[in-house]
Each structure stands twice: as structure tokens, then as C-alpha cells.
Symmetry: C2
Subunit: 198 residues, 2 copies
């Protein structure tokens, strides 16, 4: 006995991983491992998921009839792969989701800001050290984005029929990453300078 909840009335769920998986499967059939790898190269920069979550969500999507899977036997004692394909229902669920615009903003969750907020009670030098370490990490991330410029998403590009149309949007997300890291580094530099003046 399950009660009627909000979600029974609201068709559009914002469980992102679901739509990331459907979105990738829209380009062609993929295994859980493929999806995990693709996400790591692309969407993980703005939506991370563990492999455990990917495999369980794929099974759930199959229960819902949005995808079907087939176990591909790789001869010679190699491990079998389970390959997923979008169904028509899956394709229309994806279309429905992308057709319904977001009306809210995402809530920012920044652990470091919590720590900075409550840093009044500690030695300013400790805060500065922590911010410097964060600066190194964010510089690394920015370098990564800059190196990712053209050559990334190759396995995906091969499968995508009209790749040029998609590429504009992929570049937009990459550009966000670059701007975000630049902004972050600038803020860290100014914060370090200001705290050192104390």
C-alpha cells in the first residue's frame, strides 16, 4: 500500500541522474561502465555519481520501462557486458523533461564557505594555509578544463549523428567550468590577501 505523493501529480522529477543516463542513451546503446566513463569525462564536472548509483538506477529505469537491457556475451572467458537501449517511453520521458523548463535556482552548497564563515575563532594563518591548498586544487581544475578544450568526449562524438549541434552546448558547460574556477581562484587570492592583512 503506497500513498499518493507529490510525485504522482508532478510528472517532472528532478532526479538528475535519471535524465543524464537517458540523455546519453539517446545517442546510442551503452553499458553501465560506458555511462560511468562518459560521465567522468563530461557531466561529472557538474553532476557526479558513483558507479553503484549508476548500476542501480539503470535497473530502476528498466523496471519503469524506459530502457531495455541485453547481456552481451564476450567469448573467451571475458566478462559479459549488459548493454542498455532507450525505449520509446524512455525517449518521450527525456523529451518531456527537457521540454519543461527549470523555474528555480540551484541552492549552492560550498563546504569551504561554511569553514570560512566560522573561521573567526582560529589562527588566521591556518585559514590562509587552507585557502592556499584550495587554490592549488582549483588551479588544477582550471588547467584540466583548459586542456579538455577540443579532444574530449571522443567516444561519444563517434556515436553522435549530429555532433556539431550538440557540441555548442557541451562547450557552454565547459565554459561555465572555466569561469567558475577563474572566479573561485580570484576570490581565494583576494581572501588570502585580506586575511593576511589582519
Amino acid at each position: 500500500m503506497s500513498l499518493l505523493t507529490y510525485q504522482h501529480f508532478c510528472l517532472i522529477l528532478y532526479f538528475m541522474l535519471k535524465y543524464i543516463l537517458l540523455g546519453f542513451l539517446n545517442y546510442g546503446e551503452l553499458s553501465g561502465y560506458d555511462l560511468k566513463s562518459l560521465m567522468e569525462e563530461s557531466t561529472s564536472h557538474f553532476w557526479h555519481a558513483y558507479h553503484s548509483q549508476i548500476y542501480t538506477t539503470l535497473r530502476k529505469l528498466e523496471d519503469e520501462g524506459l530502457v531495455i537491457s541485453e547481456e552481451i556475451e564476450a567469448g573467451d572467458a571475458k566478462l559479459n557486458r549488459r548493454v542498455y537501449t532507450l525505449t520509446d517511453e524512455g525517449r518521450s520521458a527525456l523529451r518531456e523533461w527537457i521540454g519543461e523548463p527549470m523555474r528555480e535556482m540551484v541552492q549552492v552548497k560550498e563546504d569551504l564557505l561554511v569553514r570560512v564563515f566560522f573561521s573567526g575563532s582560529r589562527d588566521p594563518q591556518a585559514t590562509v594555509d587552507e585557502l592556499r591548498a584550495q587554490r592549488r586544487l582549483h588551479q588544477q581544475q582550471l588547467d584540466l578544463y583548459n586542456n579538455l578544450a577540443s579532444g574530449h568526449l571522443n567516444p561519444l562524438v563517434e556515436r553522435t549523428p549530429d555532433m556539431a549541434r550538440e557540441a555548442v552546448y557541451w562547450q557552454r558547460t565547459l565554459d561555465f567550468g572555466r569561469r567558475y574556477e577563474q572566479m573561485y581562484i580570484g576570490w581565494l587570492d583576494d581572501s588570502i590577501a585580506e586575511i593576511e592583512r589582519l
Copy 2:
């Protein structure tokens, strides 16, 4: 019978809400409602929590011996308040947490970027409309940060003995918010322009 988990060996937990509550209680005794209100005015911009989570976490902190509570009877049929105070253990848990620096970066989770990433299949105009709506929201948020400049956190400031020292750090988090929204708006504007050129 509970098994030993990772957390038994790793003293430093990154359950932020816990430390936000301890951090505020370090300034003086507060009720769940006070904490909810304080968070809404300040930390919610980088760490949101529902009141249901705040009340249950306070009870958990009391079980752990990090805070103690007392029910204050408000005469004249008014509702009673339950007021929490830090214990010495709570104070040292907070000190330990702030003393141990973060070594990783926070994973970004941006719903909108997921939608942009998979926007190749929809009418560019629909994407532009969605980005424009988001622009309005982010402009609102930036305006809010700009208005928040000096007068905010008044109830907290009154309780804080050495407020000037804290204020530098509070301003740093507010400054992050401003830069974040400016970056976001700039990215939205450029993205809108680029998609309109298609």
C-alpha cells in the same frame, strides 16, 4: 550490534549541518527556531537545511553530548522554546573540526548545466527562454547580496562578543556570493547570445 565503519576511524566528519549548528551555538544559546532563522539570513546561501533536519540534528547532538537543551516555559499560554547550549565536548568537537583543513574540492552540482548539456535536441529558442528566466533569478540573488551588505546578521552580531573579527569572514562569504552571481550572469548572457546566433 553495529559494525565498525570508516567513521569510527576518521574523527573528522564532514556533515556540515552539525558544525553549522555548533558554530552558531558557540556564540551563545539558541533555539531550533533561532538557528533556522540565523541560517536563513546567512549560511543558507551556501548551505541550505530544512527545519525538520535542524530539529532532528539538534536532538542527535544532544544524544552525542555535544549540546544540552532546556525547555523554557513562556507563561501566558505562549509556546515553549527549547534552548540549546554548547557543552565542553561540543566546543572541542567544533575546535577539532575547524582545526582539520579540507583537502578536497567540493563537487559542483548544477542542474542547469545538465539541461544545457542535453539541449542539442530541442528548439534553441526554448533553451534561450530558460536561460533568460534563470538570468532573472540570478539577478535577484545578486541584488539580494548587494542589499545584504552591512545590515545583516543583526541578531547574531548582538550576541557575538568579538564581532569585528568574525565580520571579516562573514563578508568573505558574502563576497563569494556576489562574485558567483556575477560570473553566472555573465555566462548566461554569453550563452544566450551564442545560442541565438544558431
